[in-house]
């Protein structure tokens, strides 16, 4: 759970850095983003990492399901339950947040990953597959942007608990470093959430001439 989770955390940073190219002015964004996508899909090293990624996603979900089912068996029920004041709601609902993310990932893979790998994508003037056009087209509809932003909030809360929890599971018990990692985890979660959430909104608004 912790190892796969932290690998996914690391992947999110790489993914976000790539996506940030979408914030460039439209023509430069298209060229740079398409070049980057082509570079990644052609690299054998990246391909190997991508298999680790698929494995991590599946293992993380399966592991979570097994642990949740076990914990459901031992969970106690009280007639009057006020236990929730002792912990954060997102710490207690990682399964629900994870399920939202899983549904999001199915949509995300279907619309971008599948289209890029197996669909028909036009080529740009440099001969790279024009993924930028696919992205821009997808973020034309406001409800699709809203779906993305809401999913990123789910991601944010999932990370807010997940990162710290993973480090705890791996056994960082030094009080000083543990406190530092807590702060890092919070900053990381905010940065990743805001970063990913801003991009669809920006791309959407750009199309209506609010920028450029």
């Amino acid at each position: 759970m912790a190892l796969t989770g932290l690998f996914l955390c690391f992947f999110l940073v790489i993914h976000l850095l790539g996506n940030l190219q979408l914030l460039l002015p439209a023509d430069r964004a298209a060229e740079s983003f398409n070049y980057y996508s082509n570079l990644l899909s052609g690299n054998i090293f990246i391909r190997m990492i991508s298999y680790v990624l698929y494995f991590s996603l599946i293992a993380h979900a399966v592991d979570a399901l097994v642990i949740t089912l076990k914990n459901k068996q031992t969970a106690a029920k009280y007639a009057y339950d006020n236990r929730k004041q002792a912990s954060k709601w997102y710490s207690r609902n990682m399964g629900i947040l994870g399920t939202i993310l899983l549904i999001f990932l199915v949509i995300h893979f279907k619309d971008f990953w599948y289209v890029y790998k197996f669909g028909t994508v036009p080529f740009d003037k440099n001969g790279n597959k024009d993924l930028y056009v696919v992205v821009v087209h997808a973020f034309k509809s406001w409800w699709y942007v809203l779906l993305y932003v809401l999913s990123m909030f789910a991601l944010g809360f999932h990370l807010l608990h997940g990162f710290k929890s993973a480090v705890r599971t791996l056994g960082l018990y030094h009080p000083g470093y543990a406190a530092l990692v807590q702060i890092f985890g919070t900053v990381y979660s905010y940065a990743v959430t805001i970063g990913f959430a801003v991009i669809p909104v920006y791309v959407h608004l750009t199309q209506f001439g609010l920028w450029n």
């Binding site: 031992t74 009057y80 009080p175």
Partner: protein, 248 residues
Amino acid sequence: MKIHLKIWRQKDAKAKGKLVDYMLDQVDHHMSFLEMMDTLNEQLILKGEMPVEFDHDCREGICGTCGMMINGQAHGPVPGLTACQLHMREFEDGATIYVEPFRATAFPVKRDLKVDRSAFDRIIQAGGFITANTGQPAEANTLLITHKTAESAFDSAACIGCGACVATCKNSSAALFTSAKISHLAKIPQGEKEAAKRVLKMVSRMDEEGFGHCSNTEACEVECPQGISVLNIARMNWEYTKANLLKD
């Protein structure tokens, strides 16, 4: 002050319990919660009814025997207290108070508010000790321990084993209790030698007893009357991984 109690009554381990209403109208706000329960029991005995059974011993907050869910919180609403140290002044006149036993699969209810917490004893028996020769106590200065280390070990040893961590955990995990015992002994030289064996045995015993997995919600630390830190759980995880990797 007047108090309306809704107390879990259960005849024995197999019976299906239910909440029963009781009214107390002469509760002194200086009374401890358990003294209030004693008053109720006196009245029940005079009426020829069975008193409400609950665990208690020292009533000084240091033995860990008492423990009940008061208004849905382990040991009641005040942080850092056991039920015996909770006073009636914390409640409003005319308040309704729900009292239920600590619940977990590994803590079966024996009767009313009394639960069987011997699962904790069995975790300790699995390895929560130091193998030492009996006889004369050893010379205290043979093993030098810094003040900081001793204090840190004592912070972990402060766990009184009341079970509030399990009762408050959404997964009924005993990670805080077990880790406090493991860390306490792992931090001092006397316990270091058997640290690997200890953590493996205690963790496997904990799992066998039917406690859930820790998902790091940290509710246990909040409800712990001794304020045992969740960093003990990190220490346990570290010791467990280390012991597994370096196992012969």
